[in-house]
């Protein structure tokens, strides 16, 4: 099924909680309200003809100028061989998105990764801890305004170099 058909099916079930189909310059995507994301995902997984049994990617991106953090769900169906991209926006000051761990167990670690690097809280997640960085790390490094701490357990992180990685 193409993205228009998938969007029509979603609209029929969830009405305006599901946004317009955004054709995008590269891939069509659908914006979904955070409150219904778990229901939308369950529907997409279980509905005959859709059968998105696989969450192939879950990424997050920080948009400071828009005051939001966006989670991008890329779903794939091995049975129907089609894919769709869902977007969920969260408020950057206190980003909360319901977890979809119950729909696809693969989401467990992907959500933990986003929590670790971008600080999005996935409500209802069974084990929301830092995954890549140590438990006592300060800050969310993939946010655009991340400031590094000067040291970690006595190991200095000040780089003695004139070069700088910052964009001018």
């Amino acid at each position: 099924m193409d993205s228009t058909g998938i969007h029509a099916a979603l609209r029929g079930r969830f009405d305006t909680a599901v946004g317009e189909l955004a054709p995008g310059p590269f891939e069509a995507s659908i914006e979904v309200d955070a409150s219904v994301i778990e229901a939308v995902c369950t529907f997409l997984r279980d509905e005959e003809g859709l059968e998105f049994a696989n969450l192939s990617n879950l990424s997050g991106a920080d948009y400071p100028e828009l005051e939001r953090i966006q989670a991008v769900y890329s779903l794939f169906s091995y049975k129907q061989r089609h894919s769709i991209t869902l977007r969920v926006n969260a408020d950057r000051a206190a980003p909360v998105i319901p977890t979809v761990e119950a729909v696809w167990p693969a989401a467990n670690w992907l959500e933990r990764e986003i929590f670790d690097l971008l600080g999005v809280e996935f409500s209802g997640h069974c084990d929301l801890r830092r995954i890549l960085l140590p438990e006592d790390w300060v800050g969310y490094p993939l946010r655009k305004d991340y400031e590094e701490q000067p040291d970690y357990h006595g190991i200095s992180t000040v780089r003695e170099s004139l070069l700088t990685m910052k964009r001018d």
Partner: protein, 381 residues
């Protein structure tokens, strides 16, 4: 090691749950991984992976170094098969900036990527033997790897971190006489796979250690997001190269090996092993066809040094040796990517280990890690 007191009455007997630490330093080839094993005697209740010991902030670096500058970093995402990561990044940037790669460039990419795949699977199956106590197959694998590395070195000057591909094509054309050299090597390599099977794959001890261990059925594999050989080991007939074709893979005729439970149940550790062995055969088939059919022409398109792709984001999927890599690349219209996220095969494979380890013996944990062919930097990036 700490011991927690806990009453456990499987047969009316009280036992204690032990918490064992495994790693991050351990004598295996998979890099720095750590498991917290909750064991009841020799039987594991859980093995909780603790990752991130090799988190090198590659995704953050991508936002700072620009489109071309990120290529050497992709080598380090999966150093065992750097060509695949090169290709993933190049393809994502090309799709964003709408760049077409010349056909000879695509053929060079396929040749390099398939050589790299053989190299990676060799390390995978060799290390699997070593983890289970057989060190000889590992030295055989290293011997073959050295020869392939020589070939790749001739192509791009590096043994491990190739930095061969560029956005728009590849950095260098094939050197003089390269086609003959690779064909000659493939003639040598073909019987080696058989040797490997005799030495390792059909060895009774090896089969006993792997068959029926940590079975993953097809539905579970899909729901947990397993990809590549791990997914095919569970009997799912899917290969990105064939089903969502990219590059010039449509030109080639090759089979997709799928696990069928020859030594036990479909989706056990042995199936994941044999899928890798058979994939090397298929890679050789692709290589022979690519070497025979490589067209003349340029290898790289004209790409400006500072190009600015339009605003938007793409998902690019490629079939890396450790399974489908999904690249999410978002552009804000500047000379730097806005966000790069790589969902790698090892990451999801690592995620399922907690679930798989329940009820297994402690010694089987090593077999599970090895059969999933996990490489730490791919998990942590």
């Amino acid at each position: 090691m700490s011991v927690e007191l806990e009453v456990h009455d499987s047969q009316g007997l009280a036992t204690e749950e032990m918490t064992l630490n495994m790693g991050p330093q351990h004598p295996s080839t998979h890099g720095v991984l750590r498991f917290i094993v909750k064991a009841d005697g020799e039987v594991m209740r859980r093995a909780i992976p603790d990752i991130g010991y090799l988190h090198r902030s590659i995704e953050k670096i991508a936002e700072k170094v620009g489109w071309h500058g990120f290529m050497p970093y992709t080598d380090r995402v999966d150093y065992v098969a750097a060509m695949a990561c090169n290709q993933g990044w190049a393809m994502a940037a090309e799709r964003l900036a709408d760049i077409e790669v010349p056909r000879r460039g695509e053929y060079c990419r396929v040749i390099a990527a398939e050589l790299s795949r053989i190299c990676s699977h060799l390390l995978g199956v060799g290390a699997m033997g070593m983890d289970l106590g057989a060190i000889t197959p590992f030295t055989h694998a290293i011997r073959e790897r050295e020869m392939i590395m020589d070939l790749i070195e001739e192509l791009c000057g590096a043994r491990l971190t190739f930095n061969y591909m560029r956005i728009g094509g590849v950095a260098w054309d094939l050197p003089h006489g390269y086609v003959e050299k690779v064909s000659h090597y493939l003639d040598h390599f073909e019987p080696v796979i058989e040797e490997f099977n005799q030495l390792l794959g059909l060895n009774r001890i090896y089969v006993k250690r792997l068959a029926d261990v940590a079975t993953v059925d097809a539905d579970m594999a899909i729901a947990w997001g397993l990809v590549g050989p791990n997914l095919r080991g569970s009997g799912v007939d899917f290969d990105v190269r064939r089903d969502i074709p990219y590059s010039v893979y449509e030109d080639f005729d090759f089979d997709v090996p799928v696990g069928s439970g020859e030594m036990g149940t479909t989706g056990d550790c042995w199936d994941r092993y044999i899928v890798r062995i058979r994939e090397m055969d298929e890679s050789m088939r692709i290589l022979r066809q690519a070497l025979a059919g490589i067209p003349e022409g340029p290898v790289i398109a004209r790409v400006p040094r500072n190009f600015k792709p339009p605003v938007g984001d793409v998902h690019v999927k490629i079939e890396a040796p450790r399974g489908e890599q999904s690249w999410y690349v978002s552009s804000d219209g500047s000379e730097y990517p806005h966000r790069v996220h790589i969902r790698t095969g090892s990451f999801t494979a690592m995620g399922i280990i907690d679930r798989l380890s329940r009820g297994l013996m402690i010694a089987d944990l090593v077999a599970v890690i090895a059969s999933m062919d996990i490489v730490a930097p791919e998990v942590d990036r």
